[in-house]
Symmetry: C2
Subunit: 209 residues, 2 copies
């Protein structure tokens, strides 16, 4: 793949959007799709779509459009979702429950293989069929699980310590829902999802009364 | 406020990040903060911070730093969070429950004032002390509530119809958790949070085995 080391993050985000649209098209047995049709499904304009794909070589044929299954398979491979991706979840609260039960994760090959918490009343019980383990066992548990993606769904005050435990357990990428800036070693990639931040931006766009 | 019509979205996102850090500092009775110290708490470098603030006029004094409470109050006002912001939530599932129970929302003045679903077994029961109403009543209910922010936490196949019902009910901004591109009138602003997309980007960054 050309240029693979320097793909802009927005391109990666859009690739995931294309993948989701292609998954839906493949499920409804659509065989080919034009970039204009894909724009309908993704909201991303056709020129941007072609530019994003250009980072990864040749796709489709001019005037013919794209074969849905082959484009789907190639984007899955680029995002390393052509193989199961085991995920560790820390935080067995409401958000953790929502994530474990989220059907689209499994559909794209993400598998939450273990759930951790530090609340003694939760340890040993199940969250949507996954047994909850104590966070202090994460390094030991992950020796056999081999997960490299972790999700932090704990309160802000606990998030930094959890991040350190995940890194020690061999996790290389973290999806962080706690509203706090995590300090991690340079080899670890973090993405933050902050519900308050999302709503605050929307609030700004409201007209004055 | 100068330039208020053309604030870049990343600036708004960072404003929300500064707000969250300042809320924490104010809660621990810190009185002044330098841009370098704030960088510690937000991960945003000091030059970017000053540039972001410059859209909104004069803040702080060179060499003295920023008064935490006054900066906090000004950013709250910019983001229109100096007043309660009522929010309609659609989708009384696990994610909805996580959102209603999320303490940081209330701390920043967001109040989920009504919850809607279309599942007859849920209507009339409570989600964290908020009674669940039928989605078809959203326009009528919002006549008295006056909320202009809506959250969509329903499955993808139901999201477009819910968006239309929210818009008809007077909602102007939507936070959408469904993995689908919503078609809304131009006066409505949508932000999407897609858990699969977030994980897919992280998956890309994993080294090859």
């Amino acid at each position: 793949m050309p240029n693979c080391g320097k793909i802009p993050t927005p391109t990666l985000e859009r690739l995931a959007t294309y993948l989701s649209a292609l998954t839906n098209l493949a499920n409804t047995n659509v065989e080919t799709v034009s970039s204009a049709q894909l724009e309908e499904h993704t909201g991303v304009n056709a020129a941007q779509f072609r530019k994003d794909l250009s980072y990864f070589g040749e796709f489709g044929r001019p005037g013919v459009g794209y074969n849905v299954r082959s484009l789907h398979a190639r984007i899955k491979a680029i995002l390393k979702l052509d193989r199961p991706q085991p995920v560790l979840l820390v935080g067995a609260g409401n958000l953790g429950r929502a994530l474990v039960g989220y059907p689209a994760l499994k559909a794209e090959n993400f598998q939450i293989v273990a759930v951790f918490d530090n609340n003694p009343t939760k340890i040993g019980s199940e969250l949507m069929h996954v047994t909850i383990d104590h966070i202090d066992s994460v390094a030991e548990r992950n020796r056999s699980l081999g997960a490299r993606i972790g999700i932090i769904a704990v309160p802000a005050y606990a998030a930094q310590q959890v991040a350190e435990q995940l890194v020690e357990a061999g996790v290389l990428t973290i999806l962080n829902f706690a509203p706090v800036v995590l300090k991690v070693p340079p080899h670890v990639t973090v993405r933050n999802v902050d519900f308050v931040q999302e709503l605050a931006v929307l609030s700004f766009y409201l007209p004055d009364e």
